[in-house]
């Protein structure tokens, strides 16, 4: 097992290097070099251009620049933001906890509601509950989240005269304000995942309930509820883990639009603004961080399979 984990771990290194190369060149290919932005009308002048490049660390060939960046990272230095000269690591440290909390809460809502609904739907297959849940689930994956976020804001401001508090307070300082700030955005990002969790749990449960050993158990007189909780639920957790692991990676970057709407200074919001501002170091740092989270969340999922399903042995 240890060897397996180690092997999987090392396999992620080439992926991360590849991503760092791709993102490094992609941002530089975008029209609107930051030197041009910084130099404005003067950008055409070679001296100004040279001076700006030196200031920003954009001198030398792309290969040299890339090497400077990567060797910086190895020393824990992600560079500094062009736009506000802040170290990129600080930028990410500010943004990360916000998005992490948002994603955590969103996934929590998705699982807490999606799991029981999925089980119910499978157990009472083809009942009204089942159809209602399935149709509801499909509607959940059909609504753009920016739209849902807008509706939520409109609804609470109109009906309750309330919107989430606007200034971010860490959970440990003021849990209530913190949670009331996150509840609407968390719902907005949870709906899609909730629908998927529900559908996958339902499908897995149906599959398991139809399998021989479950039927045998039932035939032996084991109670239905016991069968469901002992055998089926354990299996139903596998898709939940899969979805959650995957969605952690997706939502960390994919919640950008919801963050923008609710004014949360999270990582997606930071990243989108950095792209629009051509703030290369922030784009690079944030992308590599997101890729890292994505890869390790998935790695964790794979390892969890082994725990949840003893039949899966490691090769």
């Amino acid at each position: 097992m240890g060897g397996y984990v180690l092997r999987r771990f090392f396999l992620t290194i080439p992926t991360l290097i590849g991503i760092s190369i791709i993102i490094f060149f992609m941002v530089r290919l975008l029209p609107g070099d930051y030197v041009e932005i910084l130099g404005g009308d003067f950008a055409a002048s070679p001296e100004v251009k040279k001076a700006a490049q030196d200031q920003l660390g954009l001198n030398g060939s792309y290969a040299e620049q890339y090497w400077r960046w990567v060797s910086g990272i190895l020393h824990g230095d992600f560079g500094f933001s062009f736009r506000n000269t802040e170290p990129v690591s600080d930028v990410l440290l500010h943004a990360f906890p916000i998005t992490a909390e948002l994603v955590f809460l969103g996934l929590l809502i998705a699982v807490v509601i999606g799991l029981p609904l999925g089980v119910l739907s499978a157990v009472k297959r083809d009942s009204k509950h089942d159809y209602a849940a399935r149709v509801g689930g499909l509607i959940g994956v059909s609504v753009p989240n920016f739209w849902l976020a807008t509706l939520l804001l409109l609804f609470t401001s109109r009906v309750f005269g309330w919107v989430p508090p606007l200034t971010y307070v860490p959970f440990y300082k003021d849990p209530i304000q913190n949670l009331s700030q996150f509840i609407l955005p968390a719902i907005s990002i949870s709906v899609f995942t909730l629908a998927i969790v529900m559908r996958m749990v339902r499908a897995t449960m149906l599959e398991v309930l139809g399998q021989d050993y479950v039927r045998t158990a039932r035939a032996k007189g084991v109670k239905r509820n016991v069968v469901i909780s002992r055998h089926a639920l354990r299996n139903a957790l596998i898709p939940v883990v899969t979805v959650v692991g995957f969605e952690i990676g997706i939502l960390m970057g994919g919640s950008a639009i919801v963050e923008i709407i609710f004014g949360l200074p999270g990582i997606g919001n930071t990243l989108i603004n950095a792209i629009f501002n051509r703030d290369y170091p922030v784009v690079q740092g944030a992308t590599v961080l997101l890729a890292f989270i994505f890869i390790f969340a998935n790695l964790a999922v794979d390892l969890l399979y082994g725990v949840l399903d003893p039949r899966i042995s490691q090769e």
């Binding site: 499908a203 897995t204 599959e207 898709p239 990676g249 997706i250 794979d302």
Partner: protein, 313 residues
């Protein structure tokens, strides 16, 4: 368990994909059994919705002949006989724009999924078929594509190639390609273990022949389901890109773009948002229903089983 374990789950960005790969029906007896499942209300509803959308996209402009880009009337009108869905913030006919949007949404769905299909199937097929170093190399590449945030990729592509629908479609296609590659690879790996592939090999068939004659037909079922599911993902993604101003260009109508500009009027003129919102929801729902129905029909166990979770037989 037949699948090597060095891959993550197959879920794709923003896309549902509980596509079962485990045991697809290959025997005639199973096919006969599954035939009964054609009586599938959800799937049929989906097919009808999708069919209607195609009909509206193709023939709508001949029936409702107002130019969707022309400023024909007073702005922000409520629905009336002259303008059954009202007029928008510039005085254009919303119904004409919804109809045009139907064409756009189908085009976006077809082309971006087409791109993902071609790229994903090629990657997955080569990877699963040849295995070994080819597999490792291609899958590392797919991993990278997966791990790059989709929005970043889409914005960069739109920035590089210019913001328009064609490039948005390319971007969406590229973003969902890895999902196709993973699913196809998994399916191919499974098919490769079946006796008929080995016998074809033994008979000296060429790689190409085996791929085309033996492998591809047998992964058709998961692919069909995958396509329907990602058609809806593509339509939603175009809406999200339009939110950021990177999708269909004005004044051309797309549902995502309409919904985005209608947000400003959500309070005073809700009609403006309701129609494109409903249009998106209905069509996405249609594709999802269709996908669900097809899965029920094509997957004998009814059970999508989970992404990268290994085959439990």
């Amino acid at each position: 368990m037949s699948m090597p374990n060095n891959e993550g789950p197959i879920l794709a960005p923003e896309g549902p994909s509980e596509i079962g790969l485990g045991a697809w029906a290959y025997t005639s007896s199973r096919k006969a059994k599954s035939f009964a499942k054609w009586r599938n209300p959800i799937g049929i509803t989906g097919a009808i919705i999708v069919g209607m959308n195609v009909f509206i996209a193709l023939f709508g402009p001949y029936i409702w002949t107002i130019d969707p880009d022309e400023l024909v009337a007073t702005r922000l009108q409520d629905p009336s006989w002259a303008h059954p869905m009202g007029t928008d913030e510039l005085g254009r006919d919303t119904m004409a724009r919804i109809i045009h949007g139907a064409q756009v949404s189908l085009q976006v769905g077809a082309i971006s999924v087409g791109i993902a299909f071609v790229l994903g199937v090629s990657l997955g097929l080569l990877s699963g078929f040849f295995g070994g170093k080819v597999d490792s190399l291609l899958m590392r590449f797919v991993d990278m594509m997966f791990a790059l945030p989709g929005l970043v990729l889409a914005i960069v592509i739109a920035g590089l190639l210019g913001p328009n629908r064609r490039n948005a479609m390319i971007a969406i296609g590229i973003v969902i390609t890895p999902a196709f590659a993973r699913v196809v690879r998994g399916a191919v790996l499974e098919v490769m273990g079946f006796p008929f592939v080995e016998s074809a090999r033994a008979l000296g068939a060429s790689h190409k022949r085996i791929m085309v004659r033996n492998v591809l037909p047998n992964i058709a079922a998961p692919l069909i389901v995958l396509v329907t599911v990602y058609l809806s993902t593509a339509i939603l993604s175009e809406a999200a890109l339009s939110f950021l101003g990177l999708g269909t260009q004005p004044p051309e109508a797309s549902w995502g773009g309409m919904l985005n500009s209608a947000r400003s009027y959500i309070d005073a003129d809700p009609w403006l948002s309701i129609f494109p919102g409903l249009a998106i929801a209905i069509v996405v729902l249609g594709f999802n229903f269709l996908g669900d129905g097809l899965r029920d029909i094509l997957d004998p166990r009814l059970g999508p089983h989970v992404g990268g979770a290994p085959d439990k037989k």
